[in-house]
C-alpha cells in the first residue's frame, strides 16, 4: 500500500527549504478565531489541497499566504523570508474569474505582461491562449464567455507572469460538474508540464483527491489542521481504484467527525454527510 497517513507538521530534510512555510500562525476576526496555531510546510513544486468544511479557516490561510491578510501570531515564509504583502510571485486565482470587463480576452491574459517588446507580448499571449484552448476567442469580451472559459482565461492570465506559486481559492466551485471535470483535466496536464507550487483550497473531497499530492484536512472551532494525507498515486487517477477509495474514505472519516461536531453545537441530532 502506497498511502501514507501523517500528522502535521511534516518534517522535511534540512537541505530542502520548503517553498512556503506556515509557522505557528493564528488569526481572528473580532471575537471569532479563524485559525489557531497552524503550522504547515509546502514543498517546492507540490500540489497541496486544503480541504475542510466552511468556517475552518482554509480561505483565511490562503489570504495570508497571498499577503492580503497578516497573521496575528506566527509567520508566513516564502523561501525562508517573511511575506510582507501581495505580489506576483504568489499569484492568486479567485473563486470568481475576476477578469477586467473593459479588456478583451487577449488583453486580460496579457494584463501582467510588460507592454514591450510588443512581439514578445503577443507571442506569449498567443501561446497561453492555445494552452487553455481559447485561441479562437482572443478578441471576445469577458461577458461573452461561459463560466468555464472565463476561469480558463483567468488561469492563463495568472500563468502569464510565471509565478513561483499559484494560490487557488475554490476556483472551480461555481462551475457545473462537466465543466469542472474538464478544467480538472486541463489544470492537471498544465501542472504536470510546469510543476509550479500550488495551494488549492476546496471543500470537495473528490477535487482534492483528483488533483493533489498532499491533502491537509482542516478542523473547525478553532480552525486548525487535523491531518495531512499523502496521495502518492500517478496521474491521471482512476476513481474506481481501491487506493483512491481508501483515501477518500480516510478524508471522509476526518470530515465526518468535524461535521458531527458542528451539528452538536447547532443542536441537530441528525447530520447526514
Amino acid at each position: 500500500m502506497n498511502v501514507a497517513l501523517q500528522t502535521p507538521p511534516v518534517a522535511l530534510p534540512k537541505a530542502e527549504l520548503p517553498k512556503l512555510s506556515i509557522a505557528g500562525v493564528s488569526k481572528s476576526f473580532g471575537d471569532l478565531a479563524a485559525v489557531t496555531d497552524v503550522s504547515l510546510d509546502i514543498r517546492r513544486g507540490e500540489f497541496l489541497a486544503l480541504v475542510g468544511p466552511s468556517g475552518c479557516g482554509k480561505t483565511t490561510i490562503l489570504q495570508m499566504l497571498a499577503g492580503f491578510e497578516k497573521p496575528e501570531r506566527g509567520q508566513i515564509l516564502i523561501d525562508g523570508r517573511p511575506v510582507t504583502g501581495p505580489g506576483p510571485d504568489r499569484l492568486v486565482l479567485f473563486q470568481e474569474p475576476a477578469l477586467l470587463p473593459w479588456l478583451n480576452v487577449a488583453d486580460n491574459v496579457g494584463f501582467g505582461l510588460p507592454a514591450k517588446p510588443r512581439e514578445l507580448r503577443e507571442e506569449t499571449i498567443h501561446l497561453l491562449l492555445r494552452m487553455v484552448h481559447l485561441e479562437k476567442f482572443a478578441h471576445l469580451m469577458p461577458h461573452q464567455l461561459s463560466g468555464g472559459m472565463k476561469q480558463r482565461a483567468a488561469l492563463a492570465r495568472a500563468l502569464a507572469v510565471d509565478p513561483q506559486v499559484l494560490l487557488m481559492d475554490e476556483p472551480f466551485a461555481a462551475l457545473d460538474p462537466q465543466t469542472r471535470e474538464i478544467l480538472h483535466h486541463e489544470l492537471q496536464s498544465l501542472w504536470l508540464g510546469i510543476h509550479k507550487t500550488v495551494v488549492f483550497v476546496t471543500h470537495s473531497v473528490e477535487e482534492a483527491v483528483r488533483l493533489a499530492d498532499r491533502i491537509a484536512v482542516m478542523a473547525t472551532q478553532p480552525g486548525r489542521i487535523r491531518r495531512v494525507i499523502d496521495v502518492d498515486l500517478p496521474h491521471p487517477r482512476d476513481f474506481n481504484s481501491p487506493e483512491v477509495a481508501e483515501i477518500r474514505a480516510a478524508i471522509r472519516d476526518e470530515l465526518r467527525e468535524e461535521l458531527q461536531k458542528i451539528a452538536r453545537k447547532e443542536g441537530n441530532d441528525e447530520y447526514v454527510f
Binding site: 501581495p86 506576483p88 475576476a98 477586467l100 473593459w102
Partner: protein, 252 residues
C-alpha cells in the same frame, strides 16, 4: 406604426391645433407664439447670423467652463474616493454645495471678478464641478473590491492601481457624472447669461422679452433645448453606449 411615426404624428397634430387656435381665436399676437412664427424666427436668426453668434459664444463658455470643471472634478473625486479624511471633511460640503442652485454663485462671482467673462465661467464651473466629483467618487467606491485584489496580486504600484484598475473600472460612472455635470453647467450658463447680460443665447432670450417678441423668446428656448439634447444624446450618449456595450452592460 413605429414609435417615431407616432411621435411625429402627435407633434404635427398638436402644432396644427395650436396654430389654428392662435390664428382664429383673436388672441394677442405679441403674447401667444405660433409654431410658424417660431420657425420663421429661427430660420431668420440663423440666416442673419445672430443666433449662430449667440450659439457660438455660449458654446465657447460652456466648453471652457466644462473643461475646467472636468479636470477639477476628477481630481476632487479621486481625493474623496481615496482619502477617508478628505471624505469625512469635504464629503458633506460637496453634497451641500451641490444642493445650492449654481446661479446663487453669481452675486459672489460679480463681487470677486466684476462684470466679466470670468464671473460667468465661475458660475458654470460651480454648476458642474460637484456632479462630476461625486460621479467619480461613486464610480470608484462602488468598484468591486475583487478587482483591486487582482491588481495587488499582480504587484501593481499605487499609481498603476489607479490608472489600470480604478479609472477604467469607474469609467461608466465617471461618464455619467460628466454628462450630468455638463447638463448642470449648461443650465447655469443660461441662467447666468439671463442675469448678467452679454452675448450668448441667454441674452437673445432676454432681447426677445425686451422687444415683446414672443416668437423670438420661444425660438431661443427651442434652440437652448435643441443644443442641450444634441450634446447629451450625440456626444455623451454615443460614448456612454459604446463603453457600456463593450462591457456587456447595455445592448450594442
Amino acid at each position: 406604426m413605429n414609435v417615431w411615426s407616432k411621435r411625429l404624428t402627435a407633434l404635427v397634430l398638436v402644432l396644427a391645433v395650436w396654430e389654428a387656435g392662435v390664428k382664429f381665436s383673436g388672441a394677442a399676437a405679441w403674447l401667444y407664439p405660433t409654431p410658424s412664427g417660431v420657425v420663421a424666427n429661427i430660420v431668420g436668426g440663423l440666416q442673419g447670423g445672430e443666433y449662430l453668434l449667440a450659439l457660438g459664444s455660449s458654446f465657447v463658455r460652456i466648453t471652457a467652463g466644462f473643461a475646467i470643471a472636468a479636470v477639477a472634478g476628477l481630481a476632487l473625486g479621486l481625493l474623496l474616493a481615496g482619502s477617508r479624511t478628505a471624505r469625512e471633511l469635504f464629503g458633506p460640503v460637496a453634497i451641500g454645495v451641490q444642493a445650492l442652485p449654481s446661479i446663487c454663485w453669481l452675486p459672489l462671482a460679480v463681487l470677486w471678478f466684476g462684470l466679466s467673462e470670468r464671473a460667468i465661467l465661475f458660475v458654470v464651473v460651480m454648476g458642474s464641478l460637484f456632479s462630476i466629483a461625486l460621479g467619480v467618487r461613486d464610480g470608484i467606491t462602488q468598484l468591486p473590491p475583487l478587482l483591486g485584489r487582482v491588481g495587488q496580486t499582480f504587484g501593481l504600484t499605487r499609481w498603476q492601481q489607479i490608472t489600470r484598475i480604478t479609472l477604467p473600472g469607474a469609467l461608466p460612472a465617471i461618464l455619467s457624472g460628466l454628462k450630468q455635470g455638463w447638463s448642470f453647467g449648461w443650465r447655469s450658463l443660461m441662467a447666468g447669461e439671463l442675469i448678467y447680460v452679454t452675448k450668448g443665447l441667454g441674452k437673445s432670450l432676454l432681447i426677445g422679452r425686451e422687444l415683446n417678441d414672443v416668437n423670438q423668446v420661444c425660438a431661443v428656448m427651442v434652440l437652448i433645448v435643441a443644443f442641450g439634447v444634441l450634446v447629451d444624446r450625440l456626444a455623451f450618449g454615443v460614448i456612454e453606449r459604446r463603453v457600456l456595450a463593450k462591457r456587456g452592460l447595455a445592448p450594442a
